[in-house]
Structures are given as C-alpha cells and as structure tokens.
C-alpha cells in the first residue's frame, strides 16, 4: 500500500515549475503510484503566480489538494510560498527558495514586498527548509537549474529511490545541460 503524498509547487512563470513537476510525475509513475497533476495554464507567461498540484497514492480522486492537506509545499519564490502555505499540513514540510521576485504592485510602489517571510514561515510551520537555490545552481554551472536544486531538496524527503529520480531527470532535461542539472540535483539532494 503506497502512502498518499500531496505536493504543491508554487512559483512565478518562467521559474521552471512545470519541468520540475514533469520529473516528479515520471519518478512517481515508475514507483507505481496513481497520479494526478493539475496546472492552471493561460496566464503563466504573463508573470502571474503558477501553482502546480501533484497528488500521488494507490488511487487518487480529486486533482486538487485541499487547504491544509499538502505533505510538501515546494516554493520557488518566497512570496508565493507565503501566499500558499495555508495548504501545508501541520506536520508537512515547506521547502522555500530564498529568491525574491517582486510583483508589479510592489514594483510600482502600490504595495510592499513583505519583509521577514522566512522568519514568519519558520515560526508558523514545523518543518521548514530554506534554500538559496540560485547560488547553488550557479555553483553547479547553470543558474537556470535552480528548479532542479529545489527538486533535489524535495526528492530526498519522498519515498522514491534516488536512481528513479536520476533516470527521470535524464529523460526530461536536454542533453547539453544535463551535467549541470545532475550536479544541481545532487546538491539539492544532499542539502542539509
């Protein structure tokens, strides 16, 4: 009996959440899970929030994770993590990238980018992993692999074998950037 796992991935258009969700889905499939993935298309390219919900289990019904139901919230951007942390289970884990991408209301001075997001999340959630994924990805040779760093941080907390992840990564990432992405995944996997 496979234990159900609900994962909410949040970020901003262009951060690579969709690739990350594809690698996750492939790894889950190989592990034998039933799976549902829900994404809202359309506005992502216009700089809006991007939310991908991935649900795994023996049999998954709803494609949507109920509020307070996510085992993992993987936030590619701090503010998006704050916005959607209400989806986290009390004993769930939130993995949060330290990157800040100010939304237009902040850029034009109509709102403030909230200070102290990580401090707040650390006080409100039991299991918090803050990651400077951009810096780690840069060290691995490709700043665009920050999404794969974050995926690695999550991967070591999910019940799939590391080889399964690595196969899924190799299948989904273009060959010319695979080495950097492998390094990024390993750095994430071994983080903390």
């Amino acid at each position: 009996m496979l234990k159900p796992v609900d994962i909410l991935m949040v970020g901003v258009g262009g951060q690579g959440t969709i690739l990350a969700s594809k690698i996750l889905a492939q790894a889950a499939l190989e592990t034998g899970y039933d799976i549902k993935v829900s994404e809202i298309h359309g506005m992502a390219q216009r700089g809006g929030s991007v939310v991908t919900q991935v649900r795994l289990g023996e049999k998954v019904f709803s494609p949507l994770i109920p509020p307070g139901g996510a085992d993992v919230v993987l936030a590619f951007e701090k503010l998006e993590g704050l916005r959607l942390m209400s989806f986290l289970k009390p004993d769930g884990t939130i993995i949060i990238n330290e990157q800040e991408i100010p939304p237009v209301p902040v850029l034009v001075g109509a709102a403030e980018y909230p200070p102290g997001i990580i401090e707040y999340i650390s006080s409100a959630a039991r299991n918090v992993v803050a990651v400077n994924a951009l810096a780690i990805a840069e060290k691995c040779g490709n700043v665009k692999a920050a999404n794969v760093v974050l995926l690695g941080v999550m991967a070591c907390r999910l019940p799939f074998a590391r080889e399964v992840w690595e196969r899924a990564l190799a299948d989904r990432v273009p060959a010319k950037v695979l080495e950097a992405n492998k390094a990024a995944f390993a750095a994430g996997y071994e983080y903390e």
């Binding site: 799976i35 494609p63 237009v104 902040v106």
Partner: protein, 589 residues
C-alpha cells in the same frame, strides 16, 4: 501502456484512436491543446478556423462528407457557434460528429462561467461529461458511436480541471478511418421550413430513443455504499464527492443529457437522503426535482465558482451529513498572523508592444472600448486604459453605439481589438460602422499572432495549424475594401508618432483604422540590450513606473531596470523627461 495525459491530450488521443480525420477549432482556454495535439497525429487534418462558428460549419461539412469529425472550443465559443449547432441537431450527421465544449468554472481565463450543459438540452443533443483523462478518451469514442447510431451531433463537456489535469490513460492504436458514402437527401439536410418540420419531429423521436439508451449506458452507474446518503454527480464533481464523502452511495452520471430517469428513480428509492453535487447550475437537480423526487443540491453547495473537496466537506458537515474531517480546520490556524501577501496579477510582458499603445491612449484620456486578448490586461493598474470588455469582437460595435448615443463622447471613444480577434468577429462590426455613417477610430493591435492562448496561427500570419504556408490576409486592403478611407499604420513602440496619429485620427470625424503593428515580444528571439539608468540624472519622479513594466522599479528614489528581463524596447527612454534612461549596448540598439 499507460501515459500521463491532460484531459485535452486524452481527447486528441481518443479522436485519433476513433478514426477522426477532420478537426477544426478556434483557440480558447481551456480547450486550445486539443487541436494542437490532434494535429500532430499522422494522417489527420486539423485547422484553426477564424472563429467557432466557422469551425463548427467546417465540421458539419466534414461530417456530411462522411468523415468522423471533432470540433472544439471554449464555453463562450459555443455562443458564437450556436446558430449552426441548433440546426445541425435537426439535420443530423453522416460521419460521427463530436463538439467539445471546455467550460471554465471559476473563470481562470474567461469573462463568464456559463454552464454549457444547458446548450445540449437546448439543442436536444446527447451530452457526455468525463471526470478524468481516461474517461475523456473513452467518451470521445462513445460520442462518435452515439453520433452515428442516433444520427446526431454529440457534445462532450469538460471543465478546466478535467481539461488541464493530467491523469493516467491506457493508450491504444489508431482507429480505422472510413469515409461513409455521401448521399444527397434534401429532406434530411436542406433545412427549409417544410423539411425542417419533418426533422423537428425526427428530433423528438430520437430523444425518446436516446432516453432508453441512457438507461443502459455503462457510463451511468451506481456505487452502493452507506445508504443513508446518496449523491448524484457528474464530471469533476465526482472526484470531489469520492474524496469528501467516501461513505456515501453515489450515482455517477456520465451521459447527462438525456438523463437516465429509471436509474435515477432506482437510486433515489435506495437512499434515505438524496443530494445532487454539480458545479455551476442545478442542471441535474432541477430535472430530478421535476421527476417528483425529493432532492437537494444547490441548497448545500454554491452555484458559482469551482467546487473542491474542502467546500463539500465543510458544507456537508454544516448540514449534519458528514463528520468534520481534521484537515478542513487547518486553514485558519496557519494563516492567523501571516504578513499580508501582495497579489501577483498577470501583466503585459516586458517589451510588450501593447504597452506603448495603451500608454498613449491613457495620455490622450480617451474612452476605450476593449476586446479579448492579452491587451485586456491594460485595463488594470497602472495603465488602466480600457473602459470595458465584453466578448470577442464587441469593441467595434460598442464604440459605434457610444458615438450614436452620445455625441459628446464620439470623438473621444476608440475601439481596440487584436489581429486574431478582429479576424474572429471584428470585421462585421467595422463594416457596420462604415455602412451606418459612423465616425469611430478602430485600433487593430496587430502583433502577428493569437498571443493570449499561446501563439496560435490565424489567417493573418501566413501559416496554418498543420505548419503549411498560407496566404496572409492584408489588413490594410481588407479594411479599405470595407469602405474605410483613412488607414494608418504605426509602431506602438514609437510613442510620439503613435500619439500624433491617434490625435489626428480621433479628430477626423469619419471611420478610421489605425493598425498598431509590432510582433509579440515573445516571438522576437533577439532582444535588444537592456536599458541603462544614469543614476545622477534620475530624480526619482516615477514617471517610468506608469508604464507598468515588470522590468522597472524604483529603489532609494532611483529607477532600476532589471537587465535580465528588459528587452530594450525603449518605451521608458521615451517617457523619461530627464534623459536618465538610455539605450544599452553601444548606443546603436
């Protein structure tokens, strides 16, 4: 073999496996990927039509010619295609015909959330509602079989969470493709009153047979569990019911028009309390109620927006029909003292050419009749340069109506409409303005693509969905042929010229078309060097922020341009009065 497919991918796959050879559509979220995926299968034909009415008419022809045919559109597209649909229901088909209506409860990417199940009842045609990708694929084949067996178009209705959710699908091989022979039969196909009356009777007779069929459909089934609560449900709501009410007995209806009355009666007789759970309108509930069966539904759950497991759990527990699960309490507790999170609304991209045009419209304080596309985002702060937006093509007719009703507004009102939208349903509005001696200015935002839905081809782009070269309509010649004498072309990234042309044309007192032409920035591969800030010249006046460009911010009273996202479009250089924003690179950008 199983693959993870979205509902839209599964529908395309189902069409391929069922021998569909012709498909037509106009792009619209959440339906667009159906045709994009179908067109990639070998040996099929698929096209983008200029609008949904034409797509459906192409589908009628393909069906009459004997091909299995699929036509797809978003929910509001069916409004456009309703005219041929409601009479096609009379003629019936030759090759099987399926209309996919992708509804958008919650309005993720739409201007309304109408429940298109009502169209199936209105047109008196069969309706199927899948609740995941596997069912979506299977129901395409079933729809085509029903279509040919009962001689009727069939509607397959999805919603965003079916269309855009991925789940596992068993993959099969390609279906046999056979053209049914065409036979001339005016009494069936030529809908003049004498023949239409015959088909009207045939339509009722067909519905009787379809009702009998619905009673036997394997997609209408009962899952007996605890019989104190029975839930009738369909589509995505089935998934929420199974998760929120795991103990309840369920009647899942896959074929929701016509409803299987005997099955419903049998289910109702077997449960103590009967509830219908359906998104949007009480489509099933009202019909069950009119059978004289005691039922609730919309008394418990909302008739607007999307449903989800949480809403069902909360509302059923408040009604005493469910013990509150632990999860549903969690929301309030984690949210309590969180810092306020500013919104992240979608915005016009960095370098978007629409920005220049709308900045100019705002500066001229014009009333702007809007239309559907990326540019509708210019109605939001800080540009706020659009007054209304109703539906595809509505801008031109509405601007003309304004000028006829209120002379004081007439020289100050313009219509804005994208190139794809103009070709969809703006041409007739412009023809009307010319014919009825209007005096409006119509601005065609020609970015050379259907941008909002993900850059689909259209009759102006020179290419088709299948990737073949095509004649590109010449907008200048087209509007002149409609009788417009004043036609100007501007590059909206040239602010001074754009402002001058808009001033001149709005004062002209006769129909005028301004073509604001610049390709969508996402299609332009080679960006110019990012704009640079000369900090000593910047006085922190924030004029540049009025563009609403996501690459510009002001920190410590100095403008900042993000060198990664800036495309060097140069609009901010033109609005800065201090000369603090300058071209990047070697100055020749």
């Amino acid at each position: 073999m199983k693959e993870l497919l979205s509902g839209n991918e599964a529908i395309a796959r189902g069409a391929y496996e069922s021998g569909v050879t012709v498909a037509a559509a106009y792009p619209g979220t959440p339906s667009t990927e159906i045709l994009e995926n179908f067109s990639r299968y070998p040996g099929v034909y698929a096209e983008w039509a200029p609008n949904e009415k034409v797509a459906l008419e192409v589908g009628i022809g393909a069906s009459l010619a004997g091909a299995r045919t699929l036509v797809a559109m978003k929910h509001v597209g069916v409004n456009v295609a309703a005219d041929p649909l409601l009479t096609f229901a009379y003629t019936g088909v030759n090759g099987g015909f399926i209309l996919v209506s992708a509804d958008d409860p919650g309005m993720h990417s739409s201007q309304n959330e109408q429940d298109n199940r009502n169209y199936a009842r209105f047109a008196k045609i069969p309706l199927l509602e899948p609740s995941d990708s596997q069912e979506a694929k299977e129901m395409v084949e079933l729809a085509l079989d029903i279509s040919e067996q009962f001689d009727t178009p069939v509607m397959l209705r999805t919603t965003t969470r079916v269309a855009h959710s991925q789940s596992l699908v068993e993959i099969g091989g390609p279906g046999a493709r056979e053209l049914r022979p065409y036979q001339k039969d005016p009494q069936k196909y030529l809908m003049v009153p004498a023949f239409a009356r015959l088909r009207r009777a045939a339509l009722e007779e067909r519905l009787v047979r379809l009702r009998e069929y619905a009673e036997q459909s394997p997609f209408n089934f009962i899952e007996w569990r605890d019989q104190s609560l029975g839930v009738i449900t369909s589509g995505i709501s089935y998934q929420y019911v199974r998760e929120a009410l795991p103990q309840a007995s369920v009647l899942k209806i896959g074929m929701t028009n016509p409803l299987p009355e005997a099955v419903i009666r049998r289910f109702a007789a077997g449960v103590k309390r009967l509830v219908v759970v359906e998104e949007l309108e009480p489509f099933i509930q009202e019909q069950v109620s009119s059978m004289g069966i005691a039922v609730t539904g919309k008394e418990l759950i909302p008739n607007s927006g999307e449903l989800d497991t949480g809403i069902l759990a909360r509302n059923f527990s408040e009604a005493g029909l469910l013990k509150m699960p632990v999860n549903a309490e969690a929301e309030g507790s984690t949210r309590s003292k969180a810092p306020a999170a500013p919104g992240r609304p979608p915005v016009l991209c960095s370098g978007c050419p629409h920005r220049g045009l709308f900045y100019a419209l705002k500066k001229l304080k014009l009333t702007v009749a809007g239309d559907i596309g990326c540019y509708t985002l210019s109605g939001l702060p800080p540009l706020e340069a659009m007054d209304w937006c109703v539906c595809m093509g509505a801008s031109i007719g509405a601007a003309h109506g304004v000028s006829k009703a209120n002379p004081a507004m007439s020289g100050h009102t313009v219509a804005v409409i994208g190139d794809s939208t103009f070709l969809h349903s703006g041409i007739t509005g412009l023809l009307n303005m010319v014919y009825n001696n209007g005096s409006g200015t119509v601005i065609i935002l020609d970015n050379r693509t259907t941008a909002m839905t993900g850059h689909q081809q259209h009759p102006g782009t020179g290419s088709t969905l299948m990737g073949t070269a095509a004649p590109a309509v010449d907008l200048e010649t087209l509007v002149k042929a409609l009788g417009v004498k004043r036609v100007k072309v501007v590059n909206p990234l040239d602010l001074a010229k754009t402002l001058a042309v808009l001033r001149e044309e709005t004062a002209a007192g006769e129909p005028s078309v301004v073509i604001s032409r610049c390709p969508c920035v996402l299609l332009t591969k080679a960006a110019k060097p990012a704009v640079l800030v000369e900090k000593d010249k910047c006085i922190g006046c924030k004029v540049c922020l009025r563009l609403g460009c996501p690459s510009i911010s002001v920190k410590d009273r100095k403008a900042l341009v993000d060198p990664v996202s800036c495309t060097g479009c140069g609009l901010c250089i033109q609005v800065c009065q201090e000369g603090a924003l300058v071209k990047g690179g070697n100055g020749d950008a």
